[in-house]
């Protein structure tokens, strides 16, 4: 099943999925949001208290305006209908409840969004994750992460205002309706239009334009990346003007799309506002006895102040509607990615990997998904423990698929892979991975200290172990020369280190894991030719006694190897050393 997970990651596959039927789960926006609400069940009580406080604060807010008006009006009529004490109570209630609501709602929101992230991380790790590193999925992941960021506002900006409006609506209907049924109906309908209809319309239209904007943003990003990455070419060919024009065109398209959205939002806002104004005007007419049956002066004042206050909160909902469209799409993408069809559990009890690390592949056939071409078509390999082998071939020939299979990040459709004589599908994936350490250009350096990055390889490693691994990776001198040594922050993706240094830190981490098999998947790609050779020389010395599987598109001539296979057309052929 894992291969379906993989297929979701490449753009080509997304198209394939849209065209042909695929058994990836499809969700509507609403279903996706429900999945997220279910996830928040654990925080349900807190979220509910936050909502109740919000409602209470709103009620106090409405009451405050109303009682102040009635107090004044009462005085004019020569009676104190609202006591100063009541006024004070309502006022104090408004301030404290609002404060409590803010605190509670924010606390609940922080908890809920932590849950969301943990859940997403865990789902991704369990399902598709392992395969992601084998494909260039960085951009897609960033997009998903910003989708999750967009969902942060779901509770505070959408759920709370909507709940408040849902409560205000019947309250308004009853209070106004008791004085005058006709007026109550009118104000109620207007409130519904302003708080529910307009936000709903803008949410619906916003979804489409949100998707279009996302597309334009991606287009801008690609042209900027082209320009930045191609600075040499651009200078060499004197193409500054042309490339700048390209970026500016992409920028203009994006900004034009956003302007359209802003215009629509502005009109929606004004429309919601006008509904409120009409409602106030109706009350005014009723007070004057024009068209509508005349209200008593006191009731009139009370209703008018209430209506003014009630419609004030409706503005929030138009904004919520605008975001709801965006959030719905985000929720759908996140949920579809995280909720994968449960991997068919093997009926056989899985056991731990044996000590012996002899690797044998027999007639392995593999493809990433059913609608994808076969990558491996009967691959047979035999890698004895302690041997150093290379598997060569141009890109796209299935070398990385091989690494994914060995690491149990994917499962072959036919054939067998044996580790120490046991079929690896009968072994626990974690225990297989404890035998095999993996290093590739996709190996990630975390935005953390060098120490924390190394400890990921083996959490219980001592200081001495760390330095030994750095020594082996020939990077200890560099680390020693850094002012903060092991506690130096490596920066996002290791940007504070040079390419070669970063790769060596990753190597040290891999070595620290003490796995008997090293899978090196194009470990030096992206380094310049000289750094690459130095790095490969280091690999020759550090990996003695371990099985080394070097996967590359070519050899540089410095590698020490026992066997070489060339992979082509889905099978391996032994090549001369």
């Amino acid at each position: 099943m894992a291969m379906h997970d993989q297929s979701a990651t490449s753009p080509a596959n997304t198209q394939a999925r849209a065209a042909g039927g695929q058994n990836l789960p499809r969700y509507t926006d609403w279903q996706a949001i429900c999945v997220i609400f279910r996830l928040w069940r654990r925080q349900g009580a807190r979220l509910l208290v936050g909502a109740l406080l919000a409602l209470a604060a709103l009620a106090c807010g409405l009451a405050l305006m109303q009682v102040s008006g009635v107090r004044l009006a009462g005085c004019v009529l020569g009676e104190i209908i609202v006591t100063t004490a009541l006024l004070r109570w309502v006022g104090a209630g408004r301030v404290t409840l609002r404060y409590a609501e803010r605190l509670f709602a924010h606390d609940a929101m922080f908890r809920a969004l932590a849950d969301l992230r943990v859940w997403f991380f865990h789902s991704l790790a369990r399902g598709a994750a392992a395969g992601l590193g084998f494909r260039r999925a960085g951009d897609m992941l960033s997009r998903l992460v910003s989708d999750i960021g967009a969902l942060d506002g779901l509770y505070l900006r959408i759920v709370l205002p909507l709940l408040c409006a849902c409560l205000t609506f019947p309250a308004l209907l009853i209070i106004v309706g008791r004085q005058s049924l006709l007026l109550g109906l009118g104000v109620g309908v207007l409130f519904a239009c302003s708080s529910f209809l307009v936000p709903w319309l803008i949410a619906r239209s916003g979804r489409k334009s949100a998707e279009q904007t996302a597309h334009l943003l991606a287009h801008l990003r690609i042209s900027v990346l082209d320009l930045v990455g191609g600075l040499r070419e651009i200078r060499a060919f004197g193409a500054e003007g042309r490339m700048l024009a390209r970026v500016q065109a992409a920028d203009a398209a994006l900004l034009h799309g956003q302007m359209g959205m802003a215009r629509r939002a502005a009109f929606a806002n004004a429309l919601a506002f006008l509904f409120g104004q009409i409602a106030i005007f109706l009350v005014l007419l009723a007070i004057g006895g024009v068209v509508l049956p005349r209200l008593g002066a006191l009731e009139g004042v009370s209703l008018l102040f209430l209506t003014v206050a009630a419609f004030e909160s409706a503005v929030l909902l138009t904004r919520a509607g605008l975001q709801a469209g965006i959030m719905g799409a985000s929720a759908r993408r996140v949920v579809e990615m995280a909720v994968q069809p449960g991997a068919a559990r093997s009926q056989v009890a899985l056991h731990d990997a044996p000590e012996n690390t002899h690797i044998r592949l027999e007639a392995v056939r593999f493809r990433w998904a059913e609608d994808r071409p076969w990558v491996l078509k009967g691959l047979t390999l035999d890698i004895p423990p302690g041997s150093r082998v290379a598997i060569l071939g141009p890109s796209g020939v299935g070398k990385s698929s091989l690494a994914a299979l060995l690491l149990r990040a994917a499962t072959q459709q036919e054939g067998h892979i044996f580790l120490g004589g046991e079929d690896i599908t009968t072994l626990r994936p974690e225990s297989v991975r404890s035998k095999m350490a993996w290093l590739s250009q996709a190996t990630h350096l975390f935005d953390d200290t060098i120490r924390a990055n190394l400890l990921l390889g083996r959490p219980d490693a001592s200081e001495q172990d760390l330095w030994q691994a750095l020594d082996q990776a020939a990077v200890s001198d560099v680390v020693r020369s850094l002012p903060e040594g092991l506690d130096t922050w490596v920066g996002e993706g290791g940007v504070r280190l040079s390419g070669g240094q970063g790769r060596r830190i990753a190597l040290a981490r891999t070595l620290l894991a003490r796995a008997p098999v090293l899978i090196l998947d194009e470990p030096a790609t992206g380094l310049d030719a000289q750094t690459e050779q130095e790095f490969l020389r280091t690999l020759n010395t550090v990996s003695e006694g371990r099985t080394v599987i070097l996967i590359a598109h070519r050899l540089t001539g410095v590698e020490k190897l026992d066997r070489i296979w060339r992979l082509s057309d889905g099978v391996a052929r032994a090549a001369a050393l």
Binding site: L231, R232, E233, L274, A442, A513
Partner: protein, 573 residues
């Protein structure tokens, strides 16, 4: 550190000033809308006052003045128009500012040139141009106008209220002044709250993104459970820490609430007392005036506090600006290349290239990259630069391309120092092929025509043939119109290099710079690429940096470099 902070502050201030000009229309509409709101409050107060006093006088069916019923809807429509105008103007201000900033940043990047990539990752630059600037929308659209309106609008409202009811204006004014005071007491207020919340979210989001990007590494290292727990812990710790700050910071937003509630209660109680006293003497025009003015003041309270609230809400947009400032200030300043006296072009027929005692140092800590390098390549001949990486080959290439200028000595094209040549003229005479050509998002045709957009079909076909691109064309799904680059069809290293060769054919420049063009190719591909390059080299001045053994295919001069010095010469170099 302090300088940096000052620079950020200056930048933010400059942007605010620039933004304020664009936001004038937002501010104008906002003020007009506030005043219209006040006018509406007056209409409502008149109607209510009439009803109350009329009721009190038991004058059934007393005639209401008609004008409030006409003015109120008119003002409502005016306000709606103002709101539309303000929203659209705010969006436009954000768009204009983003377009301007993107232009500036792109200019800085182009000016910085390839040297910029030595210290900044291209992904970081791209995210600055796209995301950081995108996040500034709120700064220009919301924060800048709000930072003017929060003072202007309440003052504008105080004036009519003061005319009608001086005491109410005093109460409102005092409560309004209490807001900044309260905010100062609780730490610049809602501002701090929203900034802290924003920063906390940003940090959590960054950590989360980092872990998600490296998820394969985590899973394959068997650390999933560990990392899940740590992610949860980090989020929780962040929550506890942020809530501590928010607890205090929300007090300041409570201070706005407090001020508003205070205004309501004071107005209701004081004006109520006055009305109570006056009504004892029966209905009178004076009573009606007092009632109308009091109701008016009460209705003005929400209008009065609304701008203060939007100001507090917009504060987090300011934090975005500070984040962007750091990244933008990190870019080199755009300096016009000084056009020296006697700037000239180069004759395009046959160029002799020479280095005359050239020295260059990237980083004094690591020693010079080039020292006393001297060589001459006559027009139409080939020079092979050999030596390990770090010997200075790439530095020579960057000097020849004009990306950097020699710190000592001279680089000569037909005897003219490079700095005196017009940049356009230089890029016309030089073709360059590096280790890995950049393929832009677009069709294969666009990518080759990149070298010469106005080339005709015949020229293109000849370049394709000479570079042997036509050999792999049939294997592409749409031939020349196949989309390559980001998100498109992946070309192999050898194929990409052939695209670069085709570009060079099309450009047809007299000088050809080859910087390890086969470093990433396997031996078979390397040989055939070298053959194409040999054909391309005919009749051109060629400088080839390589440490490949296959370079012997190029006949000509050769120098060996080591640690930035020429250690061996062959031929007449």
């Amino acid at each position: 550190m302090r300088n940096e902070k000052a620079a950020i502050r200056n930048w933010t201030r400059l942007q605010s000033r620039l933004g304020r000009q664009a936001a004038r229309s937002v501010v104008g509409s906002g003020l007009l809308s506030s005043l219209a709101g006040i006018g509406q409050a007056w209409c409502v107060a008149v109607v209510l006052g009439h009803a109350l006093v009329g009721w009190q006088g038991a004058a059934e069916g007393s005639i209401f003045p008609a004008w409030p019923f006409l003015l109120f809807p008119a003002l409502a429509i005016l306000r709606a128009l103002c709101m539309i105008q303000a929203d659209i103007a705010a969006a436009r201000a954000g768009i204009v500012a983003r377009r301007r900033l993107r232009g500036e940043v792109m200019a800085a990047i182009l000016a910085g040139g390839p040297a910029l990539l030595r210290r900044t990752h291209s992904g970081v630059l791209a995210s600055l141009v796209v995301d950081r600037i995108e996040a500034l929308d709120g700064f220009f659209g919301r924060w800048v106008p709000a930072s003017v309106l929060w003072m202007a609008a309440p003052v504008a409202i105080l004036v009519p209220v003061g005319i009608m009811q001086p005491r109410a204006a005093l109460i409102l004014g005092l409560c309004g002044v209490a807001v900044p005071v309260g905010q100062a007491v609780f730490g610049i207020g809602a501002a701090v709250a929203s900034r802290n919340q924003f920063l906390a979210m940003t940090r959590l989001q960054a950590r989360f993104l980092d872990r998600i990007k490296g998820i394969a590494t985590i899973v394959l290292a068997g650390r999933t459970e560990d990392e899940t727990r740590r992610l949860a812990d980090a989020a929780d710790e962040l929550r506890v820490r942020t809530m501590k700050v928010l607890r205090v910071a929300f007090l300041s937003s409570a201070s706005i609430d407090c001020a508003m509630v205070g205004a309501f209660i004071l107005l209701a109680v004081l004006d109520g007392r006055q009305a109570l006293v006056m009504q004892a003497n029966g209905p009178s025009p004076a009573l009606q005036h007092v009632v109308v003015a009091s109701l008016f003041a009460l209705l003005a309270v929400p209008e009065f506090f609304a701008p203060l609230r939007s100001f507090a809400l917009a504060y987090q947009d300011r934090a975005h600006a500070q984040g962007a400032a750091t990244a933008i200030l990190d870019l080199p300043e755009v300096t016009e290349r000084p056009v020296l006296d006697g700037a000239r072009t180069v004759n395009a027929n046959g160029v002799m290239v020479a280095f005359d005692d050239v020295g260059f140092t990237w980083d004094p800590a690591r020693g010079p990259a080039l020292e006393h390098v001297t060589f001459t390549v006559p027009a139409g001949e080939t020079l092979v630069l050999a030596g390990p990486s770090g010997a200075g080959k790439s530095t020579i290439m960057e000097l020849l391309l004009g990306f950097i200028a020699p710190q000592s000595g001279r680089v000569l094209f037909n005897g003219a120092p490079l700095q005196t040549i017009v940049p356009d003229a230089l890029s016309r005479v030089v073709s360059w092929i590096g280790q890995k050509p950049v393929l832009f998002a677009g069709t294969l045709r666009d990518n080759i025509l990149f070298a010469k957009p106005d080339a005709d079909e015949r020229e293109l076909a000849s370049a394709l043939r000479s570079a042997a691109v036509d050999e792999f064309l049939p294997t592409l799904p749409d031939g020349l119109d196949t989309h390559i680059g980001e998100g498109g069809f992946g070309l192999s290293g050898g194929q990409a290099q052939r695209v670069a060769i085709a570009r060079a054919y099309l450009k047809n420049a007299p000088v050809l710079l080859l910087d390890e063009p086969t470093a990433h190719l396997d031996p078979v591909t390397e040989k055939s690429v070298f053959e194409s390059l040999q054909r391309l080299a005919v009749g051109r001045t060629v400088i080839l940096a390589t440490h490949s053994a296959a370079a012997h295919m190029f006949k000509g001069r050769r120098i060996d470099l080591q640690n930035g010095r020429v250690v061996n010469r062959q031929g007449a170099a």
